[in-house]
């Protein structure tokens, strides 16, 4: 942490940084050690290989999956469920959040029920969605929709509410009307919060797809997971886990990148 009080008399020659940064080296070593341990554990009798599989087996399973497991089909199903649910939620929650966020009365009225729904896990409605909408993709889309709207509405409203009063006042002094202020000050100012809401929504959306498909489904990445899980094909299960992790990570990274771009122009 660099907290040492370095002696004032230290003669320090300029230090050239050798190759990769220390953190990367340590991280890679840790992962490598972990993989080695994992690979060696079952033959050594430390764990039951049926439950934990091994890196080499997982690699082989990955090859099989990519070659002939209808990966494209299942990915497409899961992706559609996520995308449709997310897009619908986005289309509903952003306008609502923007408009409601401006009115203090609306906020006071809606904060309690919205917060309650935001905190509560939307997945509790999964069983009833299955009953109403069947075991196909419709129920998953609904679950994603429910998971995504609340973080976005709540954070969008918060963003509109947290507008910098000084900016608004300055704009008014130059003659800006309410619409101008809404479009040019409030919305840009709310972007960081909106993006945060979107990132949280993405997390919940992915969770919704996965849990929904694990629960009951006919196709999709989660469907594959549950099939292999029940038949104890842990190697293939883990391949699908990695695939979903990758997508989830890619999506959230993308939103984080957007957040980073936007954060730069917000005053510290």
């Amino acid at each position: 942490m660099g907290l040492e009080a370095t002696p004032a008399s230290t003669r320090r020659a300029p230090r050239r940084r050798p190759g990769a940064p220390r953190s990367l080296v340590i991280a890679s070593t840790a992962v490598l050690l972990f993989l080695l341990l994992w690979q060696a554990a079952p033959p050594l009798g430390l764990v039951n290989g049926n439950y934990t599989s091994q890196p080499t087996l997982i690699f082989l399973a990955a090859v099989e999956v990519f070659r002939g497991d209808q990966l494209g089909h299942h990915t497409w199903i899961s992706f559609s469920e996520f995308f449709l649910g997310f897009a619908l939620a986005f289309a509903v929650s952003i306008p609502l959040g923007l408009l409601l966020g401006v009115s203090r009365t609306a906020r006071y009225l809606l904060d309690p029920p919205l917060m309650a729904l935001y905190i509560a896990p939307s997945l509790i409605l999964l069983p009833i969605m299955i009953i109403w909408l069947g075991i196909g993709i419709a129920s998953k889309i609904a679950v994603v929709f429910l998971g995504v709207i609340f973080p976005i509405i709540v954070n969008t409203m918060a963003g509109m509410h947290e507008a910098d009063a000084n900016l608004v006042r300055a704009a008014r002094s130059f003659g800006a009307g309410p619409v101008d202020i809404f479009l040019r000050i409030l919305i840009p100012g709310a972007l960081p919060s909106i993006l945060l809401g979107i990132r949280l929504g993405v997390g919940r959306g992915v969770l919704g797809v996965v849990v929904g498909e694990l629960y009951v489904s006919q196709a999709g990445l989660g469907y594959q997971m549950t099939t292999y899980g029940s038949s104890m094909r842990i190697d293939r299960l883990l391949v699908y886990v990695l695939i979903i992790s990758f997508f989830g990570y890619a999506l959230t990274s993308f939103v984080r990148w957007l957040e980073g771009r936007v954060r730069n122009w917000k005053p510290a």
Binding site: A5, T6, P7, A8, S9, T10, R11, R12, P14, R15, R16, R17
Partner: protein, 264 residues
């Protein structure tokens, strides 16, 4: 022997992106007798704060040394206490808790720490606020706590880095006069960095003028005003003369910082 002796001090930084070496302080030498209040002025980037941090032992020194009572500075020590521009008070501790902090770190064992802390809280005029927390105090009050904390550990040398820089002009004036009053009691050797010329003259026995590129001492001005210094002294002829002299010394550096083009 001088109380504080700075000999050919050099401080270098590595610039974060380019890995170039940047000299913040270049061969600065300064001799300070015991009990003298030395103020340091200069434009931004002249290394005055860096110099202070080096004497405090908080940053490494590339070449040269700082000595206090003949002993070289190798790190923070009981003989020096620093007052930073930001109060750096622990928000979760009360005023009393904050003033005690230095004593706790230095493991003072004689007597009750609270009693000693209260003494200094009283000295800076905050006796009624001992139980308040920093967020309940104004900027000026927080700096008073900062000063009390430094005085409480009874340092031989007081190091102050633009302590009133973040305050408004009126508070700054008040704090300057209060500091004079408090300092008069023990007359500790002090190094005081400021960008305010008048403050430098009012408080100091010597004013050190530093220049930029790289940080070095341009001039040392001896201030021959009688002590104790009264606030009215700023209107005296002597004071005005000193002010004019200092402004001249700083003129070129100030001119180089101007951006709006002037004709002629």
């Amino acid at each position: 022997m001088n109380h504080v002796d700075i000999r050919e001090l050099c401080v270098e930084y590595t610039k974060p992106k380019s890995e170039e070496m940047f000299t913040a302080v270049d061969r600065v030498s300064l001799a300070i007798p015991k009990g003298e209040f030395v103020t340091i002025v200069g434009p931004s980037g002249c290394g005055k704060s860096t110099l202070l941090l080096a004497v405090a032992g908080l940053i490494p020194v590339a070449r040269g040394a700082a000595l206090v009572d003949g002993r070289p500075v190798t790190g923070p020590g009981r003989d020096r206490a620093m007052v930073f521009q930001e109060p750096s008070l622990m928000p979760w501790r009360s005023v009393l808790g904050n003033v005690r902090f230095g004593l706790e770190m230095q493991r003072w064992s004689d007597g009750d720490l609270d009693t000693r802390a209260l003494q200094f809280i009283d000295m800076v005029g905050l006796r009624d606020f001992a139980d308040y927390h920093p967020h309940q105090l104004s900027g000026g009050m927080r700096q008073r706590v900062n000063i009390a904390r430094a005085l409480a550990v009874d340092p031989e040398v007081l190091l102050m880095d633009e302590p009133f820089g973040a305050l408004d002009a009126q508070t700054r004036e008040i704090m300057g006069n209060e500091l004079l009053y408090i300092w008069e009691r023990d007359r500790k050797t002090a190094l005081f960095v400021t960008h305010d010329i008048e403050e430098a003259i009012l408080l100091g026995d010597q004013v050190v003028v530093m220049g930029v590129n790289p940080g070095h001492i341009k001039e040392v001005l001896k201030i021959d005003l009688p002590r104790p210094r009264r606030p009215e002294i700023v209107d005296s002829e002597q004071f005005i003369h000193y002010r004019r002299t200092l402004r001249n010394h700083l003129a070129d550096d100030l001119a180089s910082m101007q951006l709006v083009r002037r004709d002629g």
